[in-house]
């Protein structure tokens, strides 16, 4: 099962959002500046138009309909002497343009209007134009600045969540791998239980069944049968001892890992005739249960591989406890193997046990050069 690519999904949704943020930031302030700047300029133009209209009206009231002819001179005077900032002035009436002062508009000009309120013409008005180029240029500069800010923000808005999402995805992958491991561990346990059942059935069960038959025969007084039954009981005891040794972990509770390894290797040498060189730390320090049983199982499998495949003349088992870690090494002088080219359950199980403990495994071997299996397992199992 592959996890969904959350980062990709998020990116698809964050990008339009980021574009939105970018656009809003880039346009918001410059547009507001432009709007209010032009509005202020417009208000200024209207105020000047009103001042001019007031004077023109004042003069015009006494000039009757001839205000149109008197106004130009007055406006030019006002523009030259009183109203430095009124750049363009136009006076209109219902017939059209009466008079225009100042240069004709070049570029953007904001216009303000004031009615003249002269009796003979209700449509007459003064228009004042003020240049607005500076406002527009400032607006464009602001637009550039804010566009840069907006782009930066947009980048941040997408990058940050997508990055976190990528990390989360990686973490999820790791967690999923770990749960897979846990499942395998449960499988392993199940397998061991079945083997135990099989061994009890095939070993102790067979022996007890045979014993029962012999005991029935002994009821009818056959002395030789008793002799054979005694031999069978001995076999059964031997069988149980071997099974218990295989089960291992229960004796770990009683005597600890190091002592259990000593006994197991003794038994191994006895069974196979291969001497085991032991290098264990002194004392009988107790380790976490899961770590002890993992070590025990790993040694069991490694020794059994040596016995099965290596054809070794001696084996060396070394356990060291070095700063928060337990180092385990099983090395033989057997025929070795090509690490990539093998296929079996035992080495897989070893690898899984090691990674379940959060440790690391190294198998150092080559054909004709023996085999050394090294595992380094953290002592603090809870922390992993």
């Amino acid at each position: 099962m592959r996890p969904p690519n959350l980062a990709l999904w998020l990116r698809a949704r964050m990008r339009p959002l980021a574009a939105m943020v970018g656009v809003c930031v880039a346009l918001g302030a410059p547009l507001a500046y432009l709007h209010f700047g032009l509005r202020a300029r417009c208000a200024q133009a209207s105020a000047e138009a009103a001042r001019i209209a007031f004077r023109v009206r004042q003069e015009g009231l006494s000039q009757d309909g001839l205000w149109r002819y008197g106004a130009p001179k007055l406006v030019e005077h006002l523009q030259a002497f009183h109203l430095g900032s009124a750049e363009r002035i136009r006076i209109v009436d219902r017939f059209g343009l009466v008079f225009t002062a100042g240069e004709e508009p070049q570029g953007a000009t904001v216009w303000g209007r004031a009615a003249l309120l002269l009796a003979d013409d209700s449509q007459s008005a003064v228009w004042v134009g003020l240049g607005a180029r500076d406002v527009i240029v400032d607006g464009l500069v602001l637009l550039l600045v804010f566009a840069a800010v907006g782009a930066g923000l947009a980048l941040l808005v997408t990058r940050l969540p997508v990055r976190s999402m990528e990390r989360a995805g990686e973490r999820i992958l790791v967690l999923m791998g770990q749960s897979e491991l846990a499942r395998r561990a449960a499988d392993l346990q199940e397998q061991e239980r079945r083997r135990l059942a099989r061994e009890l059935h095939d070993g102790v069960g067979q022996a007890l069944t045979g014993l029962r038959i012999h005991l029935q025969l002994a009821e009818h007084g056959d002395g030789k049968v008793l002799e054979r039954a005694k031999g069978m009981v001995d076999d059964a005891i031997e069988e149980v001892r071997r099974s218990v040794a295989d089960l291992g972990p229960s004796i770990l509770d009683e005597i600890g890992l190091l002592e259990a390894l000593r006994r197991y290797t003794l038994d191994f040498s006895e069974r196979t005739g291969i001497p085991v060189e032991l290098d264990l730390p002194a004392g009988d320090a107790r380790l976490p249960t899961s770590l002890e049983s993992a070590c025990y199982r790993i040694v069991q499998e490694a020794l059994s591989n040596t016995a099965k495949h290596a054809g070794a003349s001696r084996v060396c088992l070394r356990v060291q406890i070095v700063s928060e870690h337990l180092r385990l090494e099983v090395s033989d002088d057997g025929q070795g193997f090509e690490p990539g080219a093998v296929d079996g359950q035992g080495l897989c199980n070893i690898a899984q046990r090691v990674s379940l403990q959060g440790g690391c495994l190294e198998i150092d071997t080559a054909p004709g050069r023996g085999c050394a299996l090294r595992a380094e397992l953290p002592l603090d199992v809870e922390g992993t």
Partner: protein, 298 residues
Amino acid sequence: MKSPSARWLYFAPLAVLLGASALCAWTLSVFLTGPVISQPELRPQRRVAEDALVLAGSGSNLPLTRLLAEAWGRRVYLHESIGSRGGVRAVRDGAIDLGLISRPLREEEQQGLVVWPYARVAVVIASGSSVPEQDFDEAGLAQLYSGVRRTWPDGTALRVVQRELGDSSHDAVERHWLRFAEASHEAYRRQRWRVVYADASMRAALLSERGSVGLFDQGAVRIEQLPLRIHRVEGVRPSPETLESGAYPFSKDLSMLSVGPPSDLARDFLGFIYSDRGRDLTRRAGYLPLERPAAERP
């Protein structure tokens, strides 16, 4: 897990972009819209009454013209000042019968107009009557306007009253005295003195403000019998005689304007002005009467 359904989300920023552009366009269109100017229609001619003569133009012409119109005895409607330029335009538009100007016509104004010069008036340096009579030369007047001289001999503060740019009285003096012209323009630029816009305002300023001085028409002073002090220029007192002899330098010519030949009523009024009685009235009012233009003589 590619999600094509997220693509529609791009419409949101797109919509914002479009909205912003629309707002921008709206803002620009609202604030940058100027006056809508239709093709100028012909302005309607405006007359007070068929049998009245309507006159308008420079304020300098008004006192004498009013005097002459009253003596003529027929109905004359004389508008308040609209300036020489206004007079030229109004007569061209047919809004009045005769335009009044107190300066020569500019080249671009001349076409189609007939000029009837009828009086020459002295432009005088006038002040309130409390100021003792002075004798000005070019440097002396320039000192007044440039603010070098601040008080009259009796210690009262000196207050110059200027006219707007292009005023005919200022032009008449500046034509002769260039240093004065410089001083006057500089004072105007720096807004050193009060600038009034009309003859009436100048009259009011000279009469009411102690120590004020400005350029004014001698004719107006005499007709309205204003209590103003008129100063000498290089030792010469202004009068129609010193004007005529050329001893007094500053003057302006008052003229009437008609578009082509004047109407009968206007011709009658002009005839009266150029008659012996009209010329006599003009001279007694303190103006130098001028001849009917040679081309228009009967």
